[in-house]
Symmetry: C2
């Protein structure tokens, strides 16, 4: 057993999730990365099947992603209105988004400064600010 794997097992146990081989594999795919990972369920399944030559059932992938989201290890992203996207960066942050390629890229908080924020409607308060910079190919 690798060090990385042992680490995921410990983290899963600490979260009250049994470290099954499916969950450990999904941890490796999702969290063993340099950069933030943005993905859809179908993309995740493709990676597991092609790169890791393992088959995890559709229901389990959904169950696991939702379990990780509930535990705060994944954030669901509201981009596009057809399929769900998830983000391994669970902090409040901004994105570049290419509508054509449907690619999301994280932006460092310090790269964006909002000078003026609007007054929220009566009885409501601002909980979070998310900026999407829509990008496209330069010609």
């Amino acid at each position: 057993m690798s060090n990385i794997e042992a680490n995921y097992i410990a983290k899963l146990r600490n979260s009250g999730l049994r470290p099954t081989k499916q969950r450990i594999k999904i941890c490796e795919v999702l969290f063993n990365r340099e950069k933030t990972f943005h993905f859809s369920i179908s993309e995740l399944i493709k990676i597991i099947q092609s790169q890791h030559n393992q088959k995890i059932s559709l229901a389990t992938v959904y169950n696991t992603v939702h379990a990780f989201r509930k535990k705060g290890y994944l954030k669901e992203i509201s981009i596009g209105n057809d399929i769900s996207y998830f983000d391994t960066n669970t902090s409040s942050h901004h994105h570049f988004y290419d509508e054509y390629t449907r690619e999301l890229i994280d932006i460092d908080s310090q790269e964006v400064e909002i000078k003026k924020t609007p007054t929220p409607p009566a009885g409501k308060k601002i909980k979070d600010i998310e900026v999407t910079f829509k990008i496209s190919k330069k010609f």
Copy 2:
């Protein structure tokens, strides 16, 4: 025939869309308003049926909304990842969004100022900036 109706007929014709009674009715529901209207297809159908006591088939409502979007009279909004929302404000603008009530409210451009914008990835340019101010009930 009312003045308003005649106006929609002219606009539909100018857009190359035949002014059917279904399209005229949908125009009235969508565009005969003081404020920007944010809606889902099912909300739109409910309004047509309850407030106007008219039945327009589901397929026609979808067809019409998409036709209007293609002509630039509606904008599709990427909020939530389950159902599609549309916006009668087709300009680039920012929103308040209450995740709990799923309510969208437009923000005047002058109410938001972005001081610092990030450098886009190589080969890409920023096409649009959209800020979502997530709001919730104040306690």
